[in-house]
């Protein structure tokens, strides 16, 4: 139903460099560009990061969110908009910025799916396995826009209802997508999905998105995950372990939680251990009672600062977690330790 709705009518988008592509009715400018193979810059696809700013010169746009965090006062004054929040209402002319690096990622598509399995990982983290008819092409570390099918009656309703969730599994031809949903008090989609999605729940997935995917560099890897950022880091670890050179690659995996009841990374990290040269899991808890936890305590960036990683400057570093954690970790690595900013991969959602 949703898939056919997207092909009903199209708007023509003309770009400043005289390129053009079609935008299906109800699709955002960003998604239409990506679906057409136009590498518009973006990160979160959720209105938060501000990477997909563009300047319209002709045409009208409906906005998904009225006040997205990704736009500043200055942007408003200059008439800039977010491509991920702007749905063209007809033909338009825009100035889009293109990513100078061509992405290896598959182009995103909308798919209907159904929940086929549900597993509790912790008291508030649930793994959902979703089946789609068509294959599941993505790169380890990428995310999907997920909504409940009954809340996606029309494209705008779907855009307003959906949230980004990273896949924790690997791309496959069987159409299997795994997500880890954290129950967020008050979070409309998260709370609802985490509480009510059971076998048979129908979902709409629009995927894949994101740039913080496993790169082909041959370097050893440091993964830093917190909270529901575990899923993409698990996918990166699994992806690394499936590579032809896995036997020569080392993985250091940090996982930060609050208390002992948050711990759940071990099964995923040890799963990759046999095929990799070396795997170390470092778990860090910020609020653990001393009588329940003998391991490392503090915030992830604090422990990372004290932790001796001799080859840190030569590793690829992947980060996913709550904005405060990601920000603190990136500041430490790039500004203080002076890791090259180009070796640090994360998608900013803030």
């Amino acid at each position: 139903m949703v898939e056919s709705a997207l092909t009903a009518r199209t708007a023509k988008v003309v770009t400043a460099d005289s390129g053009q592509f079609a935008c299906a009715e109800g699709d955002t400018l960003l998604r239409a560009a990506l679906r057409a193979g136009v590498a518009a810059t973006y990160e979160c696809n959720s209105g938060g990061c501000g990477t997909c700013k563009f300047t319209p010169s002709e045409g009208k746009f409906e906005q998904v969110q009225d006040e997205p965090n990704g736009l500043t006062e200055r942007d408003h004054r200059k008439g800039r908009m977010l491509a991920c929040q702007s749905v063209p209402t007809g033909d338009c002319t825009v100035s889009l910025v293109l990513d100078p690096e061509a992405s290896r990622a598959p182009t995103p598509q909308v798919r209907n799916g159904v929940v086929v399995d549900r597993r509790e990982l912790t008291y508030d983290l649930t793994e959902l396995t979703v089946q789609t008819h068509r294959p599941a092409p993505f790169l380890p570390g990428q995310f999907a826009m997920v909504s409940l099918a009954h809340k996606a009656a029309d494209p705008m309703a779907r855009l307003k209802a959906e949230r980004a969730y990273s896949m924790s599994n690997l791309p496959n031809s069987d159409g299997i997508w795994q997500f880890q949903i954290k129950e967020v008090p008050g979070g409309a989609v998260s709370g609802h999905l985490a509480r009510t999605a059971t076998e048979g729940t129908r979902l709409v997935l629009d995927a894949p998105y994101g740039h913080a995917y496993l790169k082909d560099t041959g370097r050893d890897i440091l993964c830093i995950a917190g909270g529901s950022g575990l899923a993409p880091m698990v996918s990166v670890a699994r992806g690394l372990s499936e590579r032809a050179d896995a036997q020569e690659r080392s993985l250091l995996f940090f996982y930060g939680g609050r208390a002992v009841r948050d711990l759940c990374a071990e099964e995923f990290v040890t799963e990759a251990a046999d095929r990799l040269h070396d795997v170390t899991l470092v778990e860090v808890l910020s609020e653990a009672e001393p009588d329940t936890w003998a391991g490392l305590t503090g915030f992830v960036h604090e422990v990372l600062e004290r932790y001796e990683i001799p080859d840190l400057l030569r590793r690829d570093i992947y980060i996913a977690g709550p904005p405060a954690m990601t920000d603190a970790v990136v500041r430490l690595l790039v500004l203080e330790v002076q890791v090259s900013a180009t070796n640090v991969y994360y998608d900013r959602f803030f």
Binding site: T51, D75, P100, V334, L335
Partner: protein, 111 residues
């Protein structure tokens, strides 16, 4: 060469920066501690972020988005080192700051 009047030293104090539209370019003017005025691109060569929203410390400018850091004296990247910034010619005449927007083009860097 076409220098255009952009602003004045009275508007742009030492240690301050501000972005302006000059000709067809978006240009960031920085009045460094010590007095020199630098004109560079307003948008980070990495992605679509205004450098004016970043942190300025002496001649070091850190973009707010991904913490790319630049040495404004050289208009070059500190981290990552391969990044480059445009540098537009500046002429200070009395209190007036003139910039030639045709003197360079904005740089784009891959990550």
């Amino acid at each position: 060469m076409a220098f255009e009047l952009v602003t004045t030293l009275d508007e742009l104090w030492e240690g301050d920066m501000e972005s302006f539209d000059v000709g067809d370019k978006e240009i960031l003017l920085i009045h460094l501690e010590g007095g020199e005025v630098i004109a560079t691109q307003a948008i980070c060569p990495h992605q679509q972020f205004e450098l004016v929203e970043g942190e300025l410390k002496n001649a070091e400018l850190t973009c707010k988005a991904h913490l790319w850091r630049f040495d404004l004296n050289k208009c070059a990247g500190i981290n990552p080192a391969h990044a480059k910034l445009a540098r537009y010619p500046v002429r200070v005449d009395g209190d007036s700051i003139y910039v030639d927007p045709d003197g360079d083009t904005p740089k784009i860097a891959h990550s």
